[in-house]
Amino acid sequence: MHEYPITEQIVKIASDKAKENNARKVTRIALVVGEYSGFIGESIQMYFDIISKGTICEGAFLEIEKIKAKWYCPACDIYYLRQPFSFACPQCGKDGEPTSIGKEFYVKNIEVET
């Protein structure tokens, strides 16, 4: 359910950008989706095929780059992937802090035909 309005937004962003560049057709849309953005690539693709029908984006290939969430340890100055049920730094064992890595959710670029 969640992915429907979001996918509409993706089609809108890509279409606006394509028209701005006098493109005829969008052939590829590159998305960057963080692990904690809560979005499932497969659902976006499913809605995309429905929503893009009849638009300049119809038939475009959705390329989804997934990004794992990373924590930061200020003491060791490292970024790390966390273990289940823990936020501890693998080097010093203290809890680090969440970062923006893994929360991405944006249209990176599009490929068009002119």
Binding site: H2, Q9, I13, Y106, V107, N109, E111, V112
Partner: protein
């Protein structure tokens, strides 16, 4: 026929966030402080709102109830004389900024006060969508277990205040306080955590005190 790549780098939430900020600004002008109440289904969101309101007798209170269907919670609040409107999302798993913007047309703000918006019962999606709130209040019940910060980190990271509800049930569910708090601190160093019990009202005066301070 030539393929050409065009840089975009545009956040997909931009549109939603823009509307949320407009909503917040227009409510601020009316002196309304907005609390986005989030939590799993049945966590105790409505019970908590009712208990907080009881402890804020001198504040004007408004409530928007989000629900997939039914208006049971709205009826409960209206019976208590609270100015409440209902939104049914018909399946959507969270409230978003355009939905709230529309709903606000049906709510008359006669004087400054606090608006509670009860989000859809869900620990994942509501955390990602701003709706025009000043603060996010996360309701988490002891019955859900002490591992929730580890499984739903975003909700805990984004919360401005956390209520651990149903504390009367702790002993029945082997609730591990240290594990729960350690998880929260790994995500959010400064968020206040209040332990409450909606059956007795215990703990809610402290929440109300905190909120009053925050909203003025």
């Amino acid at each position: 026929m030539s393929g050409k790549e065009i840089e975009v780098v545009q956040n997909i939430y931009d549109e939603n966030d823009k509307i949320a900020l407009e909503t917040k600004a227009s409510l601020e002008e009316l002196g309304i402080f907005v609390v986005n109440v989030m939590g799993a289904p049945g966590a105790g969101k409505t019970s908590s709102i009712i208990n907080i309101i009881r402890n804020l007798p001198e504040e004007k209170i408004y409530v928007i109830e989000g629900d997939i269907e039914s208006d049971l919670d709205t009826v409960k609040l209206k019976d208590l004389g609270i100015n409440t409107i209902q939104i049914n999302t018909g399946g959507a798993c969270h409230l978003d900024a355009p939905t709230i913007k529309n709903a606000l047309q049906n709510l008359e703000f006669s004087q400054p006060g606090i608006l509670f918006i009860e989000n859809i019962g869900n620990l994942v999606c509501p955390a990602e969508f701003q709706i025009g709130e000043h603060i996010k209040m996360l309701i988490c019940s002891a019955a859900e277990g002490s591992d929730k910060p580890y499984k739903y980190p975003l909700a805990f990271e984004k919360a401005d205040v956390i209520l651990l509800t149903k504390c009367d049930l702790k002993e029945y569910v082997d609730f591990n306080d240290d594990f729960f708090l350690k998880g929260i601190r790994g995500l959010n160093k400064s968020v206040p955590v209040f332990e409450v019990n909606a059956k007795t009202g215990q703990g809610f005066s402290a929440v109300a005190e905190w909120l009053k301070h925050k909203s003025h």
